[in-house]
Protein backbone atom coordinates (compact mmCIF):
# COMPACT_ATOMS: atom_id res chain seq x y z
CA UNK A 1 0.00 0.00 0.00
CA UNK A 2 2.55 2.50 1.08
CA UNK A 3 5.04 3.80 -1.38
CA UNK A 4 8.60 3.31 -0.28
CA UNK A 5 10.08 5.89 -2.56
CA UNK A 6 12.51 8.25 -0.98
CA UNK A 7 11.89 11.42 -2.88
CA UNK A 8 14.35 14.21 -2.40
CA UNK A 9 12.43 17.37 -2.98
CA UNK A 10 14.36 20.42 -3.98
CA UNK A 11 12.87 23.75 -3.13
CA UNK A 12 12.31 24.45 -6.78
CA UNK A 13 10.15 27.27 -8.00
CA UNK A 14 10.74 29.51 -5.00
CA UNK A 15 11.15 32.93 -6.45
CA UNK A 16 11.97 35.11 -3.49
CA UNK A 17 14.13 34.45 -0.48
CA UNK A 18 14.41 36.06 2.91
CA UNK A 19 17.81 36.24 4.55
CA UNK A 20 16.83 37.61 7.94
CA UNK A 21 18.53 35.82 10.80
CA UNK A 22 16.12 34.02 13.13
CA UNK A 23 17.94 35.70 16.04
CA UNK A 24 17.19 39.11 14.55
CA UNK A 25 13.53 38.15 14.18
CA UNK A 26 13.44 36.80 17.75
CA UNK A 27 15.01 40.02 19.03
CA UNK A 28 12.37 41.98 17.12
CA UNK A 29 9.56 39.97 18.73
CA UNK A 30 11.21 40.44 22.14
CA UNK A 31 11.31 44.21 21.68
CA UNK A 32 7.73 44.16 20.39
CA UNK A 33 6.86 42.50 23.71
CA UNK A 34 8.34 45.44 25.62
CA UNK A 35 5.99 47.76 23.73
CA UNK A 36 3.06 45.40 24.25
CA UNK A 37 3.67 45.31 28.03
CA UNK A 38 4.65 48.91 28.70
CA UNK A 39 2.74 50.70 25.95
CA UNK A 40 -0.49 48.75 25.81
CA UNK A 41 -0.60 46.56 28.93
CA UNK A 42 -1.56 43.70 26.67
CA UNK A 43 1.01 40.94 25.99
CA UNK A 44 1.21 39.35 22.55
CA UNK A 45 -1.37 36.60 22.14
CA UNK A 46 -3.72 35.12 19.59
CA UNK A 47 -6.25 32.56 20.78
CA UNK A 48 -8.14 34.52 23.43
CA UNK A 49 -9.21 37.01 20.78
CA UNK A 50 -9.68 34.16 18.32
CA UNK A 51 -12.32 32.56 20.51
CA UNK A 52 -14.15 35.89 20.83
CA UNK A 53 -14.35 36.02 17.05
CA UNK A 54 -15.37 32.35 16.86
CA UNK A 55 -18.65 33.25 18.60
CA UNK A 56 -19.61 35.11 15.39
CA UNK A 57 -19.31 31.86 13.46
CA UNK A 58 -21.04 29.89 16.22
CA UNK A 59 -24.26 31.89 15.98
CA UNK A 60 -25.43 30.40 12.65
CA UNK A 61 -24.45 26.89 13.80
CA UNK A 62 -25.89 26.65 17.31
CA UNK A 63 -28.16 29.72 17.26
CA UNK A 64 -27.53 33.16 18.72
CA UNK A 65 -29.54 32.36 21.88
CA UNK A 66 -27.23 29.46 22.62
CA UNK A 67 -24.21 31.71 22.08
CA UNK A 68 -25.68 34.38 24.36
CA UNK A 69 -26.42 31.80 27.05
CA UNK A 70 -23.02 30.10 26.85
CA UNK A 71 -21.03 30.64 30.00
CA UNK A 72 -17.67 30.73 28.20
CA UNK A 73 -18.71 33.46 25.79
CA UNK A 74 -20.40 35.30 28.67
CA UNK A 75 -16.96 35.56 30.25
CA UNK A 76 -15.43 36.32 26.87
CA UNK A 77 -18.00 38.12 24.70
CA UNK A 78 -17.32 39.35 21.20
CA UNK A 79 -15.91 42.83 21.41
CA UNK A 80 -13.59 44.68 19.12
CA UNK A 81 -10.82 45.05 21.65
CA UNK A 82 -7.03 45.23 21.47
CA UNK A 83 -6.60 41.48 20.92
CA UNK A 84 -9.06 41.27 18.05
CA UNK A 85 -7.51 44.22 16.18
CA UNK A 86 -4.10 42.65 16.83
CA UNK A 87 -5.37 39.55 14.99
CA UNK A 88 -6.40 41.72 12.06
CA UNK A 89 -2.88 43.13 11.92
CA UNK A 90 -1.04 39.78 11.71
CA UNK A 91 -2.10 38.84 8.16
CA UNK A 92 -1.58 42.43 7.02
CA UNK A 93 2.03 42.41 8.16
CA UNK A 94 2.72 38.92 6.84
CA UNK A 95 1.20 39.86 3.49
CA UNK A 96 3.37 42.97 3.30
CA UNK A 97 6.52 40.95 4.01
CA UNK A 98 5.54 38.25 1.49
CA UNK A 99 4.88 40.79 -1.27
CA UNK A 100 8.01 42.87 -0.64
CA UNK A 101 10.29 39.82 -0.40
CA UNK A 102 8.63 37.94 -3.25
CA UNK A 103 7.87 34.97 -1.01
CA UNK A 104 4.09 35.02 -1.59
CA UNK A 105 3.11 31.77 -3.22
CA UNK A 106 0.01 29.66 -3.45
CA UNK A 107 0.45 26.50 -1.40
CA UNK A 108 -2.11 23.71 -1.41
CA UNK A 109 0.12 20.91 -0.11
CA UNK A 110 3.43 21.76 1.61
CA UNK A 111 6.62 19.94 0.57
CA UNK A 112 7.16 18.02 3.83
CA UNK A 113 3.60 16.74 3.68
CA UNK A 114 3.87 15.81 -0.03
CA UNK A 115 7.05 13.83 0.60
CA UNK A 116 5.34 11.70 3.22
CA UNK A 117 1.65 11.61 2.31
CA UNK A 118 1.61 12.36 -1.40
CA UNK A 119 0.09 15.20 -3.43
CA UNK A 120 -3.58 14.68 -2.48
CA UNK A 121 -5.07 18.08 -1.73
CA UNK A 122 -8.15 16.61 -0.07
CA UNK A 123 -6.05 14.53 2.31
CA UNK A 124 -4.04 17.60 3.31
CA UNK A 125 -7.15 19.76 3.74
CA UNK A 126 -8.84 17.17 5.96
CA UNK A 127 -5.70 16.89 8.12
CA UNK A 128 -5.36 20.67 8.36
CA UNK A 129 -9.01 20.99 9.39
CA UNK A 130 -8.76 18.26 12.04
CA UNK A 131 -5.42 19.59 13.26
CA UNK A 132 -7.01 23.04 13.51
CA UNK A 133 -9.80 21.70 15.74
CA UNK A 134 -7.36 19.96 18.06
CA UNK A 135 -4.86 22.83 18.30
CA UNK A 136 -7.52 25.41 19.16
CA UNK A 137 -9.29 23.19 21.68
CA UNK A 138 -5.90 22.57 23.30
CA UNK A 139 -5.02 26.26 23.26
CA UNK A 140 -8.24 27.25 25.00
CA UNK A 141 -7.92 24.46 27.56
CA UNK A 142 -4.33 25.49 28.31
CA UNK A 143 -5.24 29.19 28.28
CA UNK A 144 -2.93 30.26 25.47
CA UNK A 145 -0.89 29.34 22.43
CA UNK A 146 2.70 29.59 21.21
CA UNK A 147 2.42 33.38 21.45
CA UNK A 148 0.39 33.91 24.63
CA UNK A 149 1.89 31.06 26.62
CA UNK A 150 5.10 30.31 24.73
CA UNK A 151 6.51 33.79 24.23
CA UNK A 152 4.54 36.17 26.48
CA UNK A 153 4.23 33.71 29.35
CA UNK A 154 7.66 32.21 28.87
CA UNK A 155 9.33 35.60 29.11
CA UNK A 156 7.46 36.29 32.36
CA UNK A 157 8.82 33.02 33.76
CA UNK A 158 5.24 31.90 34.38
CA UNK A 159 4.94 28.37 35.75
CA UNK A 160 1.90 27.64 33.55
CA UNK A 161 3.70 28.75 30.40
CA UNK A 162 6.85 26.71 30.96
CA UNK A 163 4.70 23.66 31.65
CA UNK A 164 2.92 24.44 28.38
CA UNK A 165 6.19 24.77 26.45
CA UNK A 166 7.61 21.51 27.83
CA UNK A 167 4.49 19.40 27.25
CA UNK A 168 3.77 20.95 23.85
CA UNK A 169 7.27 20.30 22.50
CA UNK A 170 7.49 16.81 23.99
CA UNK A 171 4.13 15.80 22.52
CA UNK A 172 4.99 17.38 19.18
CA UNK A 173 8.25 15.44 18.98
CA UNK A 174 6.49 12.13 19.65
CA UNK A 175 3.61 12.77 17.25
CA UNK A 176 5.99 13.99 14.55
CA UNK A 177 8.11 10.88 14.93
CA UNK A 178 5.01 8.67 14.55
CA UNK A 179 3.59 10.69 11.68
CA UNK A 180 6.78 10.87 9.63
CA UNK A 181 7.91 7.36 10.45
CA UNK A 182 8.95 5.48 7.32
CA UNK A 183 6.21 2.95 6.79
Amino acid sequence: MTMMTDVVVENAGKSGRIDWSPYLVGTGIGILSWVAFAGFGDPLGVTTAFSRVASLFAAPVIGSEAVAANSYWKSMPLKWDYGVWFLVGIPLGAFLSAIISGTWRLELVPEVWKERFGPSVLKRFVAAFLGGIVIMYGARLAGGCTSGHGISGGLQLALSSWLFLAVMFATGLVVSRLMFRKA
Binding site: G26, F50, S51, S71, P91, A127, M136, L157, V167
Partner: protein, 185 residues
Protein backbone atom coordinates in the same frame (compact mmCIF):
# COMPACT_ATOMS: atom_id res chain seq x y z
CA UNK B 1 -7.96 60.46 18.74
CA UNK B 2 -7.91 57.93 21.54
CA UNK B 3 -10.42 55.73 19.71
CA UNK B 4 -8.32 55.88 16.56
CA UNK B 5 -5.24 54.91 18.55
CA UNK B 6 -7.10 52.05 20.22
CA UNK B 7 -7.63 50.56 16.76
CA UNK B 8 -4.53 51.66 14.86
CA UNK B 9 -2.24 50.75 17.76
CA UNK B 10 -3.13 47.06 17.96
CA UNK B 11 -3.35 46.73 14.16
CA UNK B 12 0.16 48.15 13.89
CA UNK B 13 1.42 45.85 16.66
CA UNK B 14 -0.17 42.85 14.94
CA UNK B 15 1.24 43.91 11.58
CA UNK B 16 4.78 44.15 12.98
CA UNK B 17 4.30 40.73 14.58
CA UNK B 18 3.00 39.21 11.33
CA UNK B 19 5.80 40.90 9.36
CA UNK B 20 8.41 39.42 11.72
CA UNK B 21 6.83 35.93 11.58
CA UNK B 22 6.97 35.97 7.78
CA UNK B 23 10.52 37.40 7.75
CA UNK B 24 11.49 34.68 10.22
CA UNK B 25 10.09 31.95 7.92
CA UNK B 26 8.00 30.53 10.78
CA UNK B 27 4.85 31.03 8.70
CA UNK B 28 6.13 28.09 6.62
CA UNK B 29 4.57 24.72 7.39
CA UNK B 30 7.83 23.05 6.24
CA UNK B 31 9.89 25.00 8.78
CA UNK B 32 7.50 24.14 11.64
CA UNK B 33 7.25 20.43 10.75
CA UNK B 34 11.02 20.20 10.42
CA UNK B 35 11.48 21.73 13.86
CA UNK B 36 9.57 18.84 15.39
CA UNK B 37 11.60 16.47 13.19
CA UNK B 38 14.76 18.16 14.53
CA UNK B 39 15.91 19.04 11.01
CA UNK B 40 15.47 22.81 11.20
CA UNK B 41 15.85 24.81 14.41
CA UNK B 42 14.40 28.12 13.17
CA UNK B 43 11.37 27.94 15.47
CA UNK B 44 13.46 27.42 18.62
CA UNK B 45 15.93 30.12 17.55
CA UNK B 46 13.14 32.66 17.11
CA UNK B 47 11.26 31.70 20.28
CA UNK B 48 14.35 31.37 22.45
CA UNK B 49 15.69 34.76 21.42
CA UNK B 50 12.28 36.38 21.86
CA UNK B 51 11.91 34.95 25.37
CA UNK B 52 15.38 36.03 26.53
CA UNK B 53 15.34 39.51 24.94
CA UNK B 54 11.69 40.10 25.78
CA UNK B 55 12.02 38.74 29.30
CA UNK B 56 15.03 40.83 30.33
CA UNK B 57 13.35 43.98 28.99
CA UNK B 58 10.01 43.25 30.65
CA UNK B 59 11.78 42.46 33.93
CA UNK B 60 13.43 45.89 33.84
CA UNK B 61 10.13 47.53 32.90
CA UNK B 62 8.39 45.84 35.84
CA UNK B 63 11.20 46.77 38.24
CA UNK B 64 11.02 50.41 37.17
CA UNK B 65 7.24 50.47 37.55
CA UNK B 66 6.50 50.81 33.84
CA UNK B 67 4.38 47.69 33.53
CA UNK B 68 3.18 44.70 35.52
CA UNK B 69 3.08 40.95 34.98
CA UNK B 70 0.14 39.36 33.19
CA UNK B 71 0.62 35.76 34.26
CA UNK B 72 -1.83 33.05 33.22
CA UNK B 73 -3.38 30.71 35.80
CA UNK B 74 -1.37 27.58 36.52
CA UNK B 75 -4.27 25.13 36.28
CA UNK B 76 -1.72 22.37 35.97
CA UNK B 77 -3.96 19.57 34.66
CA UNK B 78 -5.70 21.80 32.12
CA UNK B 79 -2.43 23.33 30.91
CA UNK B 80 -0.77 19.92 30.57
CA UNK B 81 -3.74 18.37 28.72
CA UNK B 82 -4.20 21.47 26.58
CA UNK B 83 -0.51 21.62 25.71
CA UNK B 84 -0.52 17.94 24.73
CA UNK B 85 -3.49 18.50 22.42
CA UNK B 86 -1.75 21.61 21.12
CA UNK B 87 1.37 19.58 20.28
CA UNK B 88 -0.71 17.02 18.39
CA UNK B 89 -2.61 19.73 16.55
CA UNK B 90 0.52 21.69 15.69
CA UNK B 91 2.18 18.70 14.01
CA UNK B 92 -0.97 17.63 12.13
CA UNK B 93 -1.93 21.18 11.12
CA UNK B 94 1.65 22.31 10.55
CA UNK B 95 1.05 25.71 12.12
CA UNK B 96 0.25 27.32 15.41
CA UNK B 97 -2.64 29.80 15.55
CA UNK B 98 -0.56 32.96 15.05
CA UNK B 99 1.69 31.64 12.31
CA UNK B 100 -1.39 30.21 10.56
CA UNK B 101 -2.88 33.70 10.25
CA UNK B 102 0.37 34.89 8.68
CA UNK B 103 0.57 31.86 6.40
CA UNK B 104 -2.96 32.45 5.06
CA UNK B 105 -1.90 35.94 4.00
CA UNK B 106 1.21 34.62 2.26
CA UNK B 107 -0.70 32.14 0.11
CA UNK B 108 -1.21 28.97 2.15
CA UNK B 109 -4.66 27.63 1.28
CA UNK B 110 -4.43 24.64 3.63
CA UNK B 111 -3.71 27.06 6.49
CA UNK B 112 -7.03 28.76 5.67
CA UNK B 113 -8.85 25.41 5.70
CA UNK B 114 -7.30 24.69 9.09
CA UNK B 115 -8.44 28.10 10.36
CA UNK B 116 -12.04 26.89 9.97
CA UNK B 117 -11.01 23.87 12.03
CA UNK B 118 -9.69 26.30 14.66
CA UNK B 119 -13.06 28.08 14.70
CA UNK B 120 -14.74 24.71 15.19
CA UNK B 121 -12.29 23.91 17.98
CA UNK B 122 -13.06 27.19 19.75
CA UNK B 123 -16.81 26.50 19.46
CA UNK B 124 -16.36 22.97 20.85
CA UNK B 125 -14.41 24.40 23.78
CA UNK B 126 -17.14 26.94 24.53
CA UNK B 127 -19.78 24.19 24.39
CA UNK B 128 -17.81 21.95 26.75
CA UNK B 129 -16.70 24.79 29.04
CA UNK B 130 -19.08 24.10 31.95
CA UNK B 131 -17.89 20.51 32.25
CA UNK B 132 -14.23 21.45 31.79
CA UNK B 133 -14.52 24.15 34.42
CA UNK B 134 -16.08 21.77 36.94
CA UNK B 135 -13.76 18.83 36.32
CA UNK B 136 -10.43 19.94 34.84
CA UNK B 137 -9.69 23.64 35.35
CA UNK B 138 -9.90 23.23 39.13
CA UNK B 139 -7.40 20.35 39.38
CA UNK B 140 -4.02 21.41 40.78
CA UNK B 141 -4.96 25.06 40.34
CA UNK B 142 -1.94 26.92 41.68
CA UNK B 143 -2.91 30.41 40.56
CA UNK B 144 -0.83 33.04 38.78
CA UNK B 145 2.57 31.84 39.95
CA UNK B 146 5.99 32.54 38.49
CA UNK B 147 9.03 30.29 38.64
CA UNK B 148 10.95 32.74 40.88
CA UNK B 149 8.04 32.64 43.38
CA UNK B 150 7.92 28.88 43.76
CA UNK B 151 11.67 28.23 43.63
CA UNK B 152 12.99 31.22 45.53
CA UNK B 153 15.57 31.65 42.78
CA UNK B 154 15.61 35.35 41.76
CA UNK B 155 14.64 36.59 38.27
CA UNK B 156 18.17 37.65 37.40
CA UNK B 157 19.53 34.16 37.97
CA UNK B 158 16.78 32.65 35.83
CA UNK B 159 17.53 34.94 32.93
CA UNK B 160 21.30 34.50 33.26
CA UNK B 161 20.78 30.74 33.13
CA UNK B 162 18.31 31.00 30.25
CA UNK B 163 20.59 33.30 28.24
CA UNK B 164 23.64 31.12 28.78
CA UNK B 165 21.70 27.90 28.15
CA UNK B 166 20.05 29.21 24.99
CA UNK B 167 23.31 30.77 23.81
CA UNK B 168 25.25 27.52 24.25
CA UNK B 169 22.48 25.55 22.56
CA UNK B 170 22.40 27.93 19.57
CA UNK B 171 26.20 27.86 19.19
CA UNK B 172 26.00 24.05 19.10
CA UNK B 173 23.11 24.09 16.60
CA UNK B 174 24.91 26.55 14.32
CA UNK B 175 28.09 24.44 14.42
CA UNK B 176 26.15 21.25 13.59
CA UNK B 177 24.30 23.02 10.76
CA UNK B 178 27.56 24.37 9.30
CA UNK B 179 29.07 20.91 9.48
CA UNK B 180 26.07 19.32 7.76
CA UNK B 181 26.23 21.98 5.05
CA UNK B 182 29.93 21.31 4.41
CA UNK B 183 29.27 17.58 4.26
CA UNK B 184 26.58 18.21 1.66
CA UNK B 185 29.10 20.11 -0.43
Amino acid sequence: MTSLMSIAGPILMGAVFGYLLQQGKVTSCNVIENQFRLRDFTVLKVMGTAIVVGGIGVLLLVDTGNTKYYVKDANMLAVALGAALFGVGMVVYGYCPGTALGAIASGSVHAAVGAFGMIAGAILYALSFDWVKAHILNVWALGKVRLPDITGVPDGVWFAALAIGAGAFFVWVEASEAKAKRAQG
